[in-house]
């Protein structure tokens, strides 16, 4: 079980719980604003961009090569950027905070 907090572009905080699937799926299923997941989670569209809270970044880890390349399309890319369709929900990421990047 992992609790994940999303800070939406209009600064709302939403905390959701899940045991499996991807963080993008969790966000889309619960209508978290700013996470679209248009490609269904195959790292093709970059519409699930988040900035991971700095303290949580080691828990989530670095993006893969393809993900890092896709992030280069984004204007708001930072060293803490991830596409959250590529973050698997697990106990290891319990308690993380993600700031949703507005398109």
């Amino acid at each position: 079980m992992a609790k994940i907090t999303f800070i939406t572009p209009d600064n709302e905080s939403v905390t959701l719980e899940a045991t499996s699937g991807s963080v993008m799926e969790l966000a889309v299923q619960n209508g978290v604003k700013g996470i679209d997941g248009d490609c269904g989670g195959v790292c093709s569209c970059a519409t699930c961009h988040v900035h991971v809270a700095e303290k949580d970044f080691p828990l989530v880890g670095e993006p893969s090569e393809i993900e890092a390349d896709m992030l280069e399309l984004e204007d708001e890319v930072s060293e803490f950027s991830r596409l959250c369709c590529q973050i698997k929900v697990s106990d290891a990421i319990d308690g993380i905070t993600l700031k949703v990047v507005e398109e």
Binding site: Q29, G40, S44, E65, E67, L73
Partner: protein, 419 residues
């Protein structure tokens, strides 16, 4: 914004569903009625030929939105209901359950239907399916799982046919692909990419045959098991326990045409996705729209087009200034190959193929399509960097040094490629 207005959307797939939610984001306070004849909670279609086909995950795993989010956003989702007639003089749609629904704004997100070619025997052939809906895929999965020989013939080597072939290999099926044209993917990509995918499938033990015109399908009964014999015009025969038909689609324009909407290669719309009839719009696979970047009318079958047009329509209905102006992009996943495509390559007269040096398998490369000095499109295989740089160059036309681009010793960075 007025709360007593009603928006009716016909079709609840990528375009229709995204429109409903985009309307709320744009501040639409009126009713939203979303109709689809498919009874299943709207789902992502790309996984149908990929992860959904190979896994046992329920379709809900691929839902576009959770059922509760429609309720939360006050979107009335009517599934398993078909719009059978429209009277635009009284602005009402009639449904096959005998009810009617009034509208102020009407949106066609009616998509397209798979073509079943008029091959003698195809109507009565056993276990013969298109691949467009979740139900189609369930039928295919169930048939494969209960078949001992698992012989599949796929008619048509487009992206859906080839993705399905790759997925079925994971299910231990014996797969044959029959393509009518001289090369696979002929309608949608260049000879270079066609050859790459032909080699890929051949090396994965899929039998791909081109210039194969299927003329009949006959039924064969052996030990109480019924299968098919697919016969081609050159006399060749292919036994099939399952036949998958992937020869393209026909745009669903009948309803729109019935109220006088202008139809060309799809439902013709303006840059705001409006049809020639006031407060009637069309989006997604069914729309024939103008692309400013390429300066011509096009019709696209893609998630990107469906989602982006939905946003434009939502803004237009909410009377905000808007214009559909995007560079199209697509993707296809087959085996461990990720193909990302950006732009439209039609009309190219020059090609640059770039293989990345670190790639041992030749499976990381990109094809850059030019018309003179203008970059039209990029196909990137396992190479998101090429896709991203290509996207930037196409969006902001840039003079590119083709010699440097083709030289894998020069790192793939925008600054290295300028003329």
């Amino acid at each position: 914004m007025s709360t007593d207005k009603i928006c009716v959307i016909i079709g609840a797939s990528h375009a229709g569903v995204n429109l409903a939610f985009s309307l709320r984001k744009e501040g639409w306070e009126g009713a939203i009625h979303l109709f689809d004849s498919d009874p299943v909670l709207p789902y992502h279609r790309p996984p149908l030929s990929k992860a959904y086909l190979t896994s046992n995950d329920p379709i809900e795993q691929n839902a576009l939105k959770a059922a509760s989010t429609y309720k939360n956003e006050h979107i009335d989702l009517h599934l398993g209901v078909k719009v059978i007639a429209i009277d635009n003089t009284i602005r009402t749609v009639s449904l096959d359950n005998g009810t009617t629904q009034k509208y102020d704004n009407l949106v066609f997100a009616t998509g397209a239907s798979p073509i079943i070619p008029p091959i003698p025997g195809i109507e009565t052939a056993t276990n013969t399916y298109p691949l467009r809906t979740a139900a189609d895929v369930l039928h295919i999965k169930n048939t494969i799982n209960t078949s001992s020989k698992k012989r599949v013939v796929i008619i048509g080597a487009g992206y859906i046919g080839l993705e399905t072939a790759a997925s079925l290999k994971k299910l231990d099926a014996s797969v044959t692909v029959l393509e009518r044209e001289e090369r696979i993917l002929q309608r949608v990509t260049s000879p270079t990419m066609s050859q790459f995918f032909l080699d890929l499938h051949t090396s994965n033990d899929v039998s791909v045959f081109t210039s194969k015109n299927v003329v009949t399908i006959e039924s064969l009964k052996e030990n109480d098991i019924i299968s098919n014999i697919v016969k081609c015009s050159d006399g060749t025969l292919y036994p099939a326990d399952v036949i998958i038909v992937g020869v393209g689609v026909r745009v669903n324009t009948e309803l729109a045409a019935s109220i006088g909407v202008e139809i060309e290669n799809g439902i013709k719309v303006t840059e705001t996705t409006a049809t020639n009839i006031d407060r009637v719009y069309a989006i997604g696979d069914c729309s024939f729209h103008h692309n400013p970047r390429y300066g011509r009318f096009i019709r696209l079958e893609s998630v990107q087009n469906a989602v982006d047009q939905a946003k434009v329509t939502a803004a237009a209905i909410c009377e905000k200034e808007t214009k559909y102006d995007t560079v199209p992009w697509f993707w296809s996943d087959q085996y461990d190959i990720k193909l990302q495509m950006v732009g439209l390559s039609d009309g190219y007269d020059d090609i640059v193929i770039r293989h990345e040096e670190e790639s041992e398998s030749n499976n990381k490369f990109s094809v850059w399509y030019f018309k003179g000095s203008e970059l039209l499109a990029v196909d990137a295989v396992n190479n998101a960097k090429a896709y991203v740089i290509g996207t930037k160059f196409i969006k902001k036309p840039t003079l590119i040094d083709k010699i440097k681009l083709g030289d894998s010793a020069i790192a793939l960075k925008p600054a290295n490629l300028l003329l």
